[in-house]
Amino acid sequence: MKIIVLMKEVPDTYGERKLNLETGLAERGESETVLDEIGERALELAVAQAGQIDDVEITVVSMGPTTATATLRKALAMGADRLVHIADEKLAGADLGLTAEILSAAIRRAGFDLIIAGNVSTDGLGGVMPAMIAELLGVPHASTLSSVDISDGRVSGIRETDSGSMRVTAELPAVISITDRFPAARFPNFKGIMAAKKKPVETLTAADLGIDPEALDTPRSIMLAVSQRPPRAAGTKIVDEGDGGEKLAEFLVQNRLA
């Protein structure tokens, strides 16, 4: 079974993340970059499945800057079998539609039975990529899963929505997205790190996938204006001396919040 895991490099959320006020693009180099945590959980799920199902091949597909290869190699040390990295200067600032087209083309080229993605990335926060890719590939998708079961050519799981939870099933090939209820990834061990050095890494451009990022026949989402909001300042801080709850009640009442 061919499992594709979609992972991306993102600015570390523990640092301050910045947008360039002219281009509206995330400032690379401003904060440290890491593998998106939700993507690591997706890979952890794939690796766990590989331990249970015969003949699983895990391919990580990622679109991001050339410099991301170093970050992405960690995925190989964590247990992925190969990496397909789409890096192309023309893709800097790609919108959701273009990203979906690129990823779908790379997935089709690699071949797939199951595609595992995160429900939302921690930088773009779109939460739409898995559904877009499923549509472009013409396969079912089951999003926002908090548990997954793969057997007999189908994937099923519990999908958490705003109003409740549902049990969903899809025939493979399919796309699924998972939430952060899935376990965090294990740290790669020494053996994994050594093995990763021999695993294949393929770097592709948009042209390799037959896509022209500058084609004018498809509408793209563009940034018109970016502005920065002043950071929030701290207000009053009191230490409870037995009447902290009452003082807080007074504050709420005075401000018509209670």
């Binding site: 523990y14 993340r17 947008l19 939700i38 919108d95 959701l96 539609g97 921690t122 926060l125 779109g126 939460g127 739409v128 990529m129 559904a131 890719i133 549509e135 396969v139 079912p140 998708h141 089951a142 999003s143 099923s156 999908r159 958490e160 929505t161 705003d162 109003s163 409740g164 549902m166 049990r167 969903v168 099933t169 899809a170 939430t179 952060d180 509408p219 989402s221 563009i222 018109l224 502005s227 920065q228 929030r232 701290a234 207000g235 801080k237 009191i238 230490v239 409870d240 009447d243 902290g244 709850g245 009452e246 003082k247 807080l248 007074e250 504050f251 709420l252 009442v253 919040l257 209670a258």
Partner: protein, 329 residues
């Protein structure tokens, strides 16, 4: 007879709850649409409920209501609604298509935008119109930046953050039409069962709530998390949580506030036993007033709190509840 739709039509997908009622996001979506054009509602629901749902959409400002019956297809995930949205967009030729940024809404908008090759703007907090068309306003990186986006051409598909739009449209009697939809036959996942979350009817929903009380790891156990709920009920607030509290299994997934959970912008946010990690702050720091109770004077939540109490939640919160209840009585 074919209805003629106005040139400034904004197509709005209205979600219908399992109970048949319109989702709470409907008012903000129709309000946003009325601000920039003529709202045309699309309602995908069983034929027996269509008339009342269309009327309810009219009360929220829909000038036109298209209804589509998914029939036996209703157990397919997202695809039948995407098919209806495609048919509606072909018919109406709108200036924009608005969908709630809910979990279901994002799936539908993503598939629809990919299918129709339209530009997609996600998690907008408002929309406007300029000479070229519809512009979406976004609040990104936890509200640190405001970004305006528009498509290079064509109508944008916009998912709108629930609770972000305050404009409300005037009630009207909509012109109702049954939409004919040709199923695309696109492969879909099957919904095998659905368990609606038991709703505490007196308590507001987290998305879009005016007041939020959120609890974190500091509550130490599921039993003690009840303190959060008690305070929420005294304040008429929704209940939220940090990821640590969700991970501990004290509350469901949908309570999570933060970067990978829900973004809230209430009038009042009260954080109890929450440290204020950057990923949590990303989902609440646009609240008008922030209040925090934490025993650690250096907890980062205090850096953004308008009023902070350094103290034990198990003494401060019961006293707060008692003081507020006494005033009410």
């Amino acid at each position: 007879m074919m209805t003629a739709f106005p040139a400034d039509a904004i197509l709005v997908l209205i979600e219908v709850m399992p109970s048949g009622a319109l989702a709470r996001s409907a008012a903000g979506l129709l309000g946003a649409a009325s601000d920039v054009g003529t709202p045309v509602a699309l309602i995908v629901t069983g034929a027996d409920r269509a008339a009342s749902a269309a009327q309810a959409a009219g009360e929220l400002g829909a000038a036109f209501a298209l209804t589509a019956d998914p029939g036996t297809d209703s157990s397919s995930l997202a695809v039948p609604t995407v098919d209806a949205l495609s048919a509606a967009a072909d018919l109406v030729r709108p200036d924009a298509i608005l969908v709630s940024n809910s979990i279901d809404g994002r799936d539908i908008a993503g598939r629809f935008a990919a299918r129709s090759r339209l530009a997609l703007a996600v998690d907008a907090v408002g929309i406007a119109r300029d000479e070229e068309g519809i512009v979406a306003h976004h609040s990104v990186y936890g509200g640190a930046y405001t970004v305006d986006c528009a498509p290079t051409f064509g109508p944008p598909v916009v998912t709108v953050r629930e609770g972000a739009v305050e404009v409300r449209a005037e009630a009207t009697t909509p012109q109702v039409e049954l939409l004919s939809v040709t199923p695309s036959g696109a492969a879909a996942a099957t919904i095998e069962s659905f368990e609606e979350r038991a709703v505490t009817s007196s308590r507001p929903e987290l998305r879009g709530a005016a007041r939020v009380v959120a609890g974190g790891r500091g509550l130490a156990s599921q039993e003690q998390f009840a303190l959060v709920e008690e305070l929420a009920d005294v304040l008429g607030a929704a209940v939220g949580a940090s990821r640590a509290a969700v991970d501990a299994g004290w509350v469901p997934n949908s309570y999570q506030i933060g970067q990978t959970g829900i973004s809230v912008s209430p009038q009042l946010y009260v954080g109890i036993g929450i440290s204020g990690a950057i990923q949590h702050r990303a989902g609440m720091q646009t609240a008008k007033t922030i209040v925090a109770i934490n025993k650690d004077p250096d907890a980062p939540i205090f850096d953004i709190a308008d009023f902070g109490v350094v103290g034990d939640v198990f003494t401060v919160v019961p006293q707060l509840i008692a003081a507020l209840s006494a005033r009410k009585a």
